[in-house]
Amino acid sequence: MASYYDIDDILVEEEIVSVIFQKAASGVGIDPSSETDFIEAGSKVELPFWLAHELQLRQAVSVNVPPCFNQKTRLEIQADCACVDLRSRCPYFYEFGCKIAPIVGDRTIGFLLLSAFKNRYKEVLTKAHTATIAVGSKFWTILTKEEINLYETAQSAMASFKKWRMGGARFQIASILGRKRKPTE
């Protein structure tokens, strides 16, 4: 499980979802556009995920499927997964998907995530170990956070191997050694 202090996990829960209030609520300043502190039942409000989740548990709201999992995105992912810019849609596409699926009760999101990751993984794999930094940086911009992590692990492993192969300074000089002795009076 993700740890309490995991910054990524916190950021995932900051994602905005749109919800529909099932009950009327008063005395809440959730909706900045409304003039009063009163929310009528049936009104549509955008909330961060963590709040929507808590309200949903109390059956105060019903959560809509966020736009990054809507039909249009799905079609794009089916068409050419590797080129879809998931980062601009949702930088935490996979993590968010895992969290939102049980809440909106949509079983197909799980399959969507798996198939998207499976296809995009191949792209990451072929580019990660071979591409140079310059080529890579262009490719980077469409990856989600998780894919970037994967990409960076591969790159750093390759970089450290290359560094070793090139050689260079084998031993580090202990900080105490290079120093000049202080002149003794």
């Binding site: 993700a2 740890s3 995991d6 990524d8 996979y94 993590e95 895992c98 699926a101 049980p102 009760g105 079983r107 999101i109 799980g110 995530l113 798996l114 990751f117 499976k118 993984y121 191949k122 794999l125 072929t126 990660a128 170990h129 998780e146 992590n149 994967l150 692990t153 591969a154 750093s156 492993a157 390759m158 450290s160 191997f161 560094k163 070793w164 192969r165 050689g167």
Partner: protein
């Protein structure tokens, strides 16, 4: 993700692998006379000029640095052998078994310290580089086969350095696949029962690629 720090994922650095590879035995021709060395890992020597003896690579390099011996390159490190290996590697998707586990490290150490003892050093070096590239490409092809069902990969005759390069990547990728494939999202009546027992008593693993 999932709080994995880097040092957990990549267990060895290239330098550490090099250190391990230094325990491999090589032939040397000493040019000094010395009594056998009795070390914990075994007795090496006696050293008599022009008589071939076997020592670990680190000792060979130490002697070489002092100009006390010449190192005989291992049998696989010749132009003919390597050309053969390269052909075999190019022909099949299988990894060839003719190279030692530490071939990347051994060749690099020998090139660094005993370049003058390797005939056709330049050729040998470029052959080894080629072989490494071909093999690495194969590893990547094998890894492309990953999908949610994968719980392990089997690649025969992978060398120490090759496995070390891909280790962190594979770890993370498998972790991600496992997460997305696990049925924790919404319990699925069909899949839940067939997953559970496998986790419970490590039943025979599913047959994977090759």
């Amino acid at each position: 993700m999932a709080g994995q720090s880097d040092h957990e994922l990549s267990l060895f650095s290239a330098e550490e692998l090099e250190f391990i590879a230094e325990d491999e035995i090589v032939d040397i021709v000493p040019n000094l006379k010395m009594d056998p060395l009795c070390l914990i890992s075994g007795d090496f020597g006696p050293f008599t000029p022009q008589i071939v003896t076997q020592v670990p690579l680190w000792l060979a390099i130490a002697l070489k640095k002092r100009g006390k011996c010449s190192i005989c390159p291992p049998q696989w490190m010749t132009v003919e052998k390597l050309t053969q290996v390269l052909e075999v590697e190019r022909d099949s998707q299988e990894m060839s078994e003719h190279l030692p586990f530490h071939y990347v490290e051994i060749s690099r150490l020998l090139f660094d310290h005993a370049r003058d003892n390797i005939p056709d050093a330049y050729m040998v070096r470029s052959l080894i580089e080629d072989i490494r590239d071909v093999r690495f490409h194969k590893v990547e092809t094998d890894l492309e086969g990953f999908n949610g069902r994968t719980i392990a990969v089997k690649i025969k005759n992978l060398s120490a350095m090759e496995v070390n390069i891909v280790r962190p990547f594979i770890g993370r990728a498998l972790q991600a696949f496992y997460k997305h494939d696990s049925s924790e999202l919404i319990p699925d009546p069909e899949r839940a029962p067939d997953r559970r027992p496998q986790v419970a008593h490590n039943a025979p693993r599913r047959q994977l690629r090759r």
